[in-house]
């Protein structure tokens, strides 16, 4: 059992507060660190990885401080966001160098490359790799010593869907093995698909924490706004307002559209097409008007 504990941690750069009095414990399993860009995710991960000192508070691994303690890296594997990684080496040379720095050898390097399925390109220079291949070699370098904690900063950035699925599968497996896996992302769907536990940070503050389903319910239960255009807006509005899943409908004459506020997301999405069909109304546009991540987050912060 290995867990990272963040205790009343703040971090500021000059007069900018990047992380504001955050406390959380990251334990075994896959945890998603979710937040919009600039929320302080990288700052938190850098502090957990020992590359940044907290301005106040403590960051510990099973009670041992992480800052200025290189022995901690026997237990932690890090997949940084930045791309640079000794591009003049081949994938194999790179992973092997990482193994050697842990006091390990060629066998461990080969095993790590097999885990990320990069053996086929291991003898090519890293400078010729695609972004997804780089990401996998970075993973291999972090896994070479079988760490109990794995920290990944925006690992899915720039990956194509297939690579994304492979990496998710790998991280899920590591979580199931009882390792502590923490990854940051600003994309809700990634976190939803992978994490069993999530921590949400917004503007440097710890906005929500817990089981994903609970937070997802918070997110889906919030009022949703839709912009709908149809062949008969007024008839559609009359039929919809009769149902308790809608809280308000505005006929926007200038736009030629309906602005609908739905309170029961699940029920409304089933209701709309059914009502339209029953009344012989054609739906021309159905678009959520506040699905931006920021609005989801701001709702969470308020909740």
């Amino acid at each position: 059992m290995t867990s990272i504990r963040i205790d009343n941690v703040s971090r500021w750069f000059g007069n900018v507060v990047a992380v504001n009095d955050v406390s959380m414990t990251v334990g075994p399993g896959v945890t998603g660190l979710l937040g919009p860009n600039g929320a302080g995710k990288s700052t938190l991960i850098n502090m957990m990885g020992g590359f940044l000192a907290p301005s106040t508070g403590t960051v510990t691994l099973d009670g041992v401080p992480i800052w200025r303690n290189e022995q901690i890296y026997r237990h932690i594997g890090i997949v940084p966001e930045r791309e640079a990684m000794y591009d003049f080496l081949t994938g194999l040379e790179f992973v092997r160098a990482n193994a050697e720095l842990h006091g390990l050898g060629a066998a461990e390097a080969q095993r790590a490359l097999a885990t990320v399925e990069m053996e086929y390109a291991q003898d090519r220079a890293i400078s010729t790799y695609s972004k997804g291949m780089r990401q996998r070699v970075k993973m291999a370098s972090a896994l070479v010593h079988e760490p109990s904690v794995l920290l990944l900063d925006e690992p899915f950035n720039g990956m194509d869907p297939r690579q994304r699925m492979q990496l998710m599968e790998l991280l899920r497996r590591m979580g199931a093995e009882g390792r502590t896996v923490l990854f940051s992302s600003h994309i809700l769907e990634e976190v939803e698909q992978l994490a069993t536990h999530i921590e949400v940070v917004v503007a440097g503050r710890h906005a929500a924490s817990g089981d994903f389903r609970k937070i997802r319910r918070l997110m889906t239960d919030r009022p949703h706004r839709y912009l709908v255009r149809s062949s008969d807006d007024r008839a559609l509005a009359a039929a919809l307002i009769a149902d308790p899943s809608t809280a308000g409908i505005e006929v926007d004459v200038e736009e030629g559209a309906l602005r609908i506020q739905a309170v029961d997301f699940g029920r409304f999405t089933a209701l709309l097409p059914r009502v339209a069909r029953e009344h012989g109304i054609r739906l021309l546009t159905v678009s959520p008007s506040d699905e931006s991540l920021e609005s989801v987050f701001s709702y969470l912060v308020a909740a």
């Binding site: 000192a53 290189e70 890296y73 940084p80 966001e81 640079a84 990684m85 000794y86 720095l101």
Partner: protein
Amino acid sequence: MYNATVARLTYRGLLGRRRAFILFGLPALLIAVSVVIRILVGADDGTAGSVLGGFALATMVPLIGVVAGTGAIGPEIDDGSVVYLLSKPVKRPTIIFTKLVVAIAVTVVFSAVPTLIAGFVLNGNSQQIAVAYAVAAAVASVAYSAVFLLMGTLTRHAVVAGLVYALVWESLFGSLVPGARTLSVQQWSLALAQRIGAEGAVSSDVGLPTALVLLAGVTVAATWFAGQKLRSLTLAGEE
């Protein structure tokens, strides 16, 4: 204290990047100039002294030192790849010491050795001039490597800072303000050359004991400080 893997990565980084051209170019220039002078002027101790002292020791050694010293760590800190060295259970001072050894080796090979060759080409080591300047270059390589390695950990503009020190402080200030010469790696190493060369062949503004103490002190202090600096190296995110 020495980590072979760190050394291998550092060597490949230093000799593989574009800046390696400077490492090969300057010594080649020195030897070419020496060959031309020998053919045109013939063997002359005075000319040999001014080429080795004026170009080799005053310009080439510090430049190679800047390239090797800052290049041994600066680019890795700059592009973030140093993460892969730092996220390992390897003591940070060990990383610095290893990189220092590599920087010294590269500087000696690309500056002291060519100085020796150029000296033999110029006057066949008459009055021990070739050996004296080569030893001075080797000793200066150690101190320059340590100082510029430290600069590499301190600032993103280590190359510029190194060039300013090497060219403005040592060359310009040293020729205008006599006192500045006491605080010059070049003068300290010349003190050693003065001892090795024949009477009056080489001269320095600093006495040998002072020079040796300062050389050793600067090297040790810079290396220690760089190690401490690396222990608390902060990596800023891309945000």
